[in-house]
Point group: C2
DNA sequence: CCAACTATACAATAATTCTTGAAATATAAA
DNA sequence: TTTATATTTCAAGAATTATTGTATAGTTGG
């Protein structure tokens, strides 16, 4: 997890719609949902849902697989775990004493 | 940690400049840095640094205290810990089986 | 009080992101 | 093959966010 990817992931989560999409997909893991189910569930115009799904896919926050004419989206829990690790490491960089009990983070104190 | 605060925090982290500021402040915890030190360290025009510092302060990602004519900023590690907890909980909402070893998260499976 | 300094507020512009309908693409079904 | 369905791409405008210089407010030390 480098700074660039972290920034892209935060951008990806920094929208109510995208956060809702991610939460919805987590709730439906590991099956995932197809695009139409997502836009229906969140009452979004399909184009808008597609716009955000594309951004989230680019960020690797979600994955997509084709199923005939459907596109099935799934939350990428692995990259989310990496982001959590990154945040935890950021929080104790150089200062484990002043950072809760996160010193167990394996990648603690990396730079960039 | 509700969805609204989480979104604000992600917005706050979703910028290279603000992420740099946060990382810099974590590195200097718990002393913190005054505004001038931050803009100098990151080679930012003071107005631009102030713009981002204000946004981050509003998001509660950092705290500010006045020291005479200086404004000292510190990373808010507590809110960062809350955000990590929120992300961890999000990742296992309703699906602990498909989410690494995050099931220990106390607030797992909350909604909004 | 006055001069120097720190930092923010304001204003104008630039840049980016968001939203939506219409059109296009692709797959499936009849 | 023709029609229907699912999804995306495109284009345009709306809205938001970022950047920077200048001006202002507040603080310190002489």
């Amino acid at each position: 997890m480098d700074k660039q990817l972290a920034t892209i992931l935060f951008e990806s989560l920094a929208s109510g719609i995208r956060l809702d999409i991610f939460r919805l997909l987590v709730k439906h893991a590991p099956t995932g949902l197809v695009a139409g189910e997502i836009s229906t569930a969140l009452a979004l115009p399909p184009t808008n849902a597609s716009f955000h799904l594309k951004a989230m896919t680019y960020a690797s926050l979600i994955n997509v697989t084709q199923e005939g004419r459907y596109q099935r989206y799934r939350a990428n829990l692995t990259v989310m775990q990496s982001l959590i690790d990154y945040l935890t490491a950021e929080c104790c960089t150089g200062n484990p004493d002043y950072c809760f009990d996160a010193t167990k983070a394996s990648s603690c104190c990396d730079t960039d």
